[in-house]
Subunit: 361 residues, 2 copies
C-alpha cells in the first residue's frame, strides 16, 4: 500500500515542491505514531516531493518518535535550537521554491516567511490532507470499529446505571470504566451526561447534578482506540417517559433513520441533513434542531465532511460520519440520537448500534 | 473582585481600543464558562474597552452560553451567517481603530484583515492574557487543589493496583475510575502508564502491554475539576526494585526536592530548573534528563510560566507549576517524579503529594 506521505506527495506535486505539516494530528496521521497529539509538543514534518521526509522534534519526544515513526527520518531539535530556524534552513538548503502548509498560527507563519527571506514561497493549503484523511483506509476503519464497539458497550452501561439519585458524573464514571477496562485508549471527548433542563443544551456536559425521576438524560460518549474516535448519543428517561417525551423521541428516531437511509457514496451531505430535518420540521419542531446533522470522524471527533444544510460535500466510500439529529426545548429538555456510520458504495453501515434506548424500566 | 474582562481591559487600554479573543480556552477563562473547549466550536469574544463585551457563538451552543456566560452579552451566529463577517462588521460599527488578538490561524487572520478593509489595525498580542492566566485567583486555586486531591487519590490506586500480568490500560482504568467516581470532570490529559522499555520515553503512553516483574512503571496522571487541571507522576517498580533502579530513583527524588526548595515568588525559573539539573548531572546522568523541569498549569496542562534552562520567567505568587525531573535510559527504563506546586510568597506548596512511591510490596 502507498504510504500516506507518498499519497500527499502525489497530490501536491503539480502545485508545490514541498509540504510542511504543522498540525500535530496531521503529523500523527502521516507518521502513523500512536499517542496524544498534545504530548507531541511543537514538531514539524517536512515532506519534500521525491526525497526523504523529516520529522523535527524536541528531546522530550525524540527517542519515542525515532523508534515509532514511519515513512520519515526523525531529527532532534536540541535544547536552545529554534524549530522554525531549522525548518527554514532545511527548506533553503533543499532549494524548495514553493512550499504548502496545512495550518499555522499567524505568528508562526510570519516567522517562517521571514526565515525564508523570499527564497521560497509559502502557501496555506490544507485540502490535500483533508481529502486523504476523510477517506479511511482499512486499518483506520478497523480502529474506528473497535472504538465504536467499546462505545456501544459504554452506552449499555449507561442504560444499566441510570437511576434517580445518582449524580451525572457517577454515571460517567461507570461508562468510562467499562470502555477503558475493555481496552479503550481513553475518551474521544468529554463524556456528556446531561439531565433534565441541561439536556436541552446540545453540549450539556456532565456535572454534580442528581438525576431525578422524569428527567431526560442525553448521554453523548466516545471511546478511542489507537488514536481513532467513535461518537454515539442516546437519550434515556429516568423512570417512565411521559407521552410528550415519547413523542419527541420517536420524531428524532425517525429523523435519524431517514437520514441513515440516504447515507451512501455520492450522496450530497446537505441532502442527508435535509432528510432528517424534514421529519423534524414536519412535526413542527424544526426551529429546535439547532445544529447540523453530523460530521466526519477519525483521528479527531470533528473532521470532514460536514453534514449540514450549507455544506457542499459529497459522501465518498470510506468516509466515517455521524448521524445525530436532536430536538432541544429550552426550559423543558432535549433528545438526541447519534450513531457513527461508515459510508459504503450503496449504503451506510452503523458502527455504533443497538440498545433499546429511551425506555428505562 | 474585578472581572477578568475588566482586568484585561485595564491591561490593554494604552495600546488597543479593543481586544478579540479567539482561542477557546481563553474564551472559557473570560466568560467563566465551565465546559469543554472543543465543544465551544468556533466562537469569538470581542472586548471593546469600556463597553459591553460580546460573545459571538453558533446555535449549537447559544442557549447554554446565554445561560452560563459571565461578564458579556451573548450573540447568536445564525446558520448561514459568517462569524468573521459579523466580528469585522461589529469592529467597524464600534469604530475601533486598533484591535489586539490572542491567537488566530493564518487563514483566519487574513480573512479578518480583509474584512476590516484597513479601517482598523489588527495586532497579535497574547501576553496580556497569559499574564492574567498565569497568576491564579482564589477560585482557580481551589479548583486546581480539588483536581490535585483527586489526582493523588488516583495515584494511590495506581500503587494499589500495579502487579505483574496486568495490562497498562487496565491499570489506567482503575486510576481513572477512582478519580472520576470521586468527582473528577475527566482527565486533564491522556493517562500514561508506561512500563519497562516504554518508561524511558517521557510521554510513554499507555498500551496493551502486560506489566512484568522488574519493570519500572511511570504513571503520569491528572484529574480535572471544573475545567482546571492537575498533573502528577510517580514511578513504581513491579516487584522488588533493583539496586540500579533504587539508585536512579533516589537521584530523581533528590533533584525534585532540591528544585521544590527553590520555588517561591521572585525565583527565576531557570534557577529552579538548574537546582534539579545539578543533582542529576552530579550523578553523571545529566544527558538523560531530556526535558525542562516543568510548566505552568491551570485551564490547560501546559501554560506559562515554563521552567527550563532557557526560560526568562520569574515566579509570581499565584503561579501553579509542575516540578518534574526525570532520567530516561533508552533500552533500560526511566524514572520521573512530578508534583503540582502552588507558588507562594516565600515557598512552594505541593498540591499533589505523598505516597511511598517506587517500592511495591
Amino acid at each position: 500500500m502507498r504510504s500516506r506521505i507518498k499519497a500527499v506527495e502525489d497530490a501536491f506535486r503539480n502545485e508545490f515542491d514541498g509540504y510542511l505539516v504543522v498540525n500535530p494530528i496531521n503529523i500523527l496521521y502521516f507518521t502513523e505514531l500512536v499517542g496524544a497529539a498534545d504530548s507531541l509538543g511543537s514538531a514539524m514534518l517536512l515532506i519534500p516531493g521525491g526525497e526523504e521526509s523529516t520529522l523535527h522534534i524536541h528531546g522530550v519526544n525524540y527517542e519515542w518518535a525515532k523508534t515509532e515513526a514511519k515513512n520519515c527520518s526523525v531529527q532532534l531539535v536540541k535544547r536552545g535550537e529554534d524549530l522554525v530556524d531549522l525548518i527554514t534552513e532545511k527548506i533553503r538548503e533543499m532549494k524548495l521554491m514553493k512550499v504548502g502548509f496545512d495550518k499555522m498560527d499567524f505568528q508562526t507563519q510570519q516567522k517562517v516567511s521571514k526565515g525564508l527571506k523570499r527564497r521560497a514561497q509559502l502557501e496555506a493549503k490544507a485540502d490535500y490532507v483533508w481529502d486523504l484523511r476523510s477517506v479511511k483506509d482499512g486499518g483506520e476503519v478497523d480502529r474506528i470499529q473497535r472504538a465504536a464497539q467499546l462505545t456501544t458497550e459504554g452506552m449499555q452501561t449507561a442504560q444499566d446505571t441510570i437511576k434517580a439519585g445518582l449524580r451525572e458524573f457517577e454515571v460517567a464514571a461507570e461508562i468510562e470504566y467499562k470502555m477503558r477496562s475493555h481496552g479503550s485508549y481513553g475518551v474521544a471527548f468529554d463524556t456528556s451526561v446531561a439531565s433534565g433542563l441541561c439536556s436541552a443544551f446540545p453540549h450539556g456536559g456532565c456535572s454534580e447534578k442528581k438525576l431525578q425521576t422524569g428527567d431526560a438524560v442525553v448521554v453523548d460518549i466516545g471511546a478511542k482506540y489507537k488514536n481513532y474516535c467513535a461518537d454515539m448519543t442516546r437519550t434515556f428517561v429516568v423512570g417512565r417517559p411521559s407521552a410528550k417525551q415519547e413523542k419527541i423521541y420517536n420524531i428524532v428516531k425517525e429523523a435519524q433513520e431517514n437520514a441513515f437511509q440516504k447515507i451512501m457514496e455520492g450522496a450530497k451531505t446537505k441532502d442527508v441533513d435535509a432528510a432528517a430535518r424534514r421529519v423534524i420540521a414536519k412535526a413542527g419542531l424544526g426551529e429546535f434542531f439547532v445544529h447540523g446533522l453530523g460530521h466526519g470522524i477519525g483521528l479527531e471527533v470533528h473532521e470532514q465532511p460536514s453534514l449540514n444544510s450549507t455544506s457542499k460535500a459529497v459522501l465518498k466510500a470510506g468516509n466515517v460520519v455521524t448521524d445525530e439529529p436532536g430536538v432541544y426545548l429550552v426550559g423543558y429538555g432535549g433528545v438526541r440520537i447519534e450513531d457513527t456510520v461508515l459510508v459504503k458504495r450503496s449504503k451506510g453501515q452503523r458502527l455504533t448500534e443497538g440498545l433499546k434506548f429511551l425506555k428505562k424500566s
